[in-house]
């Protein structure tokens, strides 16, 4: 597609794309195969060591292999980013498109709701949701365990993921909805939409063949920035102890556990920190690259 040719011409953005796809998503999926050690295995006679042959990236204060934890952390980041962003994108696109195309009371309703959600301090709200939704989720899972006899589900931490998804997408969808609504409003006024109407196209066909395809380019940029944002928010949540709980590995949680170590063992913070920064940087750079490739001005 033309877009891909122009995006790929920006070599550095392509590099970032490869880093993300391989570094994050592939490692995430094959975490069990790739990680040299079981992330939770504590090796007490090798505590807080620097990088060595046995432990390429060294070990943390409980003797756990840093590299394995980072690899498993990639899995968390991969899952959280994909699910949270796709959730907020789907909600945002549907609500945004409808309110943009239909207008009237529906549009006003969605806009006022998103105004209110914007008024919320998003971090406070996310932590609040995580702190409140989680226990009721635990109760729900426990009942499910009893009802269907799936042992260990509660302990598996899927609740943490569920909580993080809901929290992140609840504050993310209004942004996406507004973006789509703006796009739909401007595309709706274009003459080729009136042309489609004049040749007798149905409303359904107009929305999905003419309006939405031309709205999606800025969404691509927003999604890539959103993925980066989701990784950052997840690490913040875990850092504050409200997101993914141990034993599941999360970069944010790793940094929180070692936050006191910046004087003695800085590598325990900087290595996961660098990984988070690189991942988010790549997402943002891809977003910039997409934006330039799509921007009509330099076509």
């Amino acid at each position: 597609m033309m877009l891909w040719r122009r995006f790929a011409s920006n070599r550095f953005a392509l590099v970032c794309m490869i880093v993300i796809v391989l570094g994050l998503y592939v490692t995430g999926i094959f975490a069990p195969l790739l990680s040299p050690y079981v992330p939770t295995a504590q090796n007490l006679d090798a505590v807080a060591q620097g990088p060595s042959i046995a432990h390429w990236l060294g070990t943390d204060e409980l003797g756990r292999d840093l590299l394995s934890r980072i690899i498993w952390g990639a899995r968390t980041a991969a899952i959280v980013s994909i699910v949270a962003v796709s959730l907020s994108t789907i909600i945002g696109v549907v609500l945004g498109a409808l309110s943009g195309y239909l207008g009237g009371w529906f549009d006003t309703l969605i806009m006022r709701v998103s105004d209110i959600l914007f008024a919320f301090p998003s971090l406070l709200f996310v932590i609040f949701i995580a702190a409140t939704v989680k226990p009721s989720a635990v109760r729900f899972v426990e009942q499910m365990e009893i009802a269907w006899g799936m042992r260990g589900l509660a302990r598996s931490g899927i609740i943490d993921y569920f909580v993080v998804f809901t929290a992140l997408s609840v504050i993310a969808w209004p942004g996406m909805a507004r973006l789509i609504r703006g796009q739909v409003l401007s595309v709706k006024r274009m003459e080729y939409v009136a042309a489609a109407e004049s040749i007798g196209a149905s409303t359904y066909r107009i929305i999905f063949r003419h309006v939405l395809p031309n709205c999606l380019s800025p969404v691509l940029v927003a999604v890539s920035m959103g993925l980066g944002g989701a990784v950052m928010s997840e690490s913040v949540l875990s850092y504050l102890g409200v997101g993914i709980q141990p034993p599941n590995a999360s970069w944010g949680a790793m940094i929180w556990e070692n936050s006191g170590e910046w004087r003695l063992h800085p590598h325990l913070i900087f290595i996961p920190g660098a990984v988070v920064a690189i991942v988010i940087f790549c997402f943002n750079f891809i977003g910039d690259g997409l934006n330039d490739a799509l921007n009509p001005r330099n076509r």
């Binding site: 006022r112 274009m190 003459e191 009136a194 042309a195 109407e197 004049s198 040749i199 007798g200 196209a201």
Partner: protein, 327 residues
């Protein structure tokens, strides 16, 4: 061009008001933009009616209201005797097949994400006229008819010049073999030499497919070249409606006279001798049009009665209608 007597389109007192809303939460209506303020005219089969006027006079809105792209606020649009206002959903879509539109901006009237094949083929699909191989052939035939290389079927709009895009728009309109086409300023965005190509093409197509045109434009010389009858619009109303020769050689309405005198003629000797009627001031806003005859604020012949009541469109003989009590 044989123009029969059968009336294809009959517009009766068409009105199109756009509400102005304001307010944060509860959208209150605070006024109306009276884009089209009661116009009536008929178009016979095979005829080309020119609709001319300056920007803001409501000519484009008229075109879209006729095609029901906007639901008219009042008045009736009868197409082949059928009142389009009563039609909804599929019934309206069926009639749409016979009425098509060509748009002004070649760069905005084609969906950038669609190839030529799907742009021109889409109407065929929507009305189930052709599928697969047959559709492919029909599309290539249409490309040939409008003077484009059928080989372009898989190309995208951004690879074409303004003139070529306008031809694609015409091919799309022809796809469903319409009998009536509204040309909304089809050439004003084009270069001088390209305009001639498109005008000639439109004339050839009219003969070849026995089409009826409503030709909307602001360029009076172009309208004179292509139309059989011409309606001059000012601020949402028709000021004068007559045969081409009568209107250009014997304009009655003061606005038409001023308009014709303002159009420069590409001939220095003629230009030097022409005596211009320069209208003062600007076109009033359609939100609060002047009372009575909406031209009275700028009209050199205005008298007090002009602002008391709206002058009706009266036939002054030879189907030469004019809306002015001073003529």
């Amino acid at each position: 061009m044989p123009i029969g007597d059968e009336i294809l389109l009959d517009v009766k007192d068409l009105k199109m008001y756009f509400p102005i809303k304001s307010g944060m939460v509860f959208q209150r209506k605070v006024g109306d933009v009276k884009a089209v303020d009661g116009i009536s005219f008929t178009v016979k089969k095979g005829e080309t009616l020119g609709l001319v006027g300056e920007s803001g006079c409501g000519k484009s809105t008229t075109g879209r209201a006729i095609l029901q792209l906007y639901r008219p606020t009042a008045g009736q649009v009868l197409f082949e005797g059928e009142n389009l206002g009563d039609l909804r959903g599929n019934k309206l879509r069926k009639v749409r097949r016979k009425m098509q539109m060509i748009f002004q901006d070649p760069y905005a009237s084609l969906n950038p994400r669609q190839s030529l094949g799907s742009i021109i083929g889409e109407p065929l699909v929507i009305h189930g006229l052709a599928k697969g191989k047959d559709k492919q052939e029909r599309v290539q035939e249409l490309l040939r008819i409008v003077g484009l290389n059928p080989y372009f079927v898989n190309r995208y709009p951004h690879e074409f010049s303004g003139g070529q895009r306008q031809r694609i728009g015409i091919a799309r309109a022809l796809a469903v073999q319409p009998s009536f086409i509204i040309c909304d300023e089809p050439i004003s965005a084009l270069d001088v030499s390209i305009r001639a190509q498109i005008l000639n093409l439109l004339e050839d197509l009219q003969e070849q497919f026995d089409l009826t045109y409503l030709f909307i434009a602001h360029d009076l010389s172009v309208v004179r070249h292509i139309s059989d009858r011409v309606a001059v619009m000012y601020l949402g109303r028709i000021a004068e409606l007559a045969d081409r020769k009568a209107l250009y050689e014997n304009p009655l309405h003061p606005y038409t006279k001023a308009l014709l005198s303002a159009v420069p003629i590409p001939d220095p000797t003629v230009e030097a001798k022409r005596e211009r009627i320069i209208l003062t001031g600007d076109v009033p806003s359609p939100v609060k049009p002047p009372a009575g005859c909406n031209f009275h604020t700028r009209c050199p012949m205005a008298i007090p009665q002009c602002s008391q009541f709206v002058p009706p469109l009266v036939d002054k003989g030879g189907r030469h209608h004019v809306a002015c009590i001073r003529v």
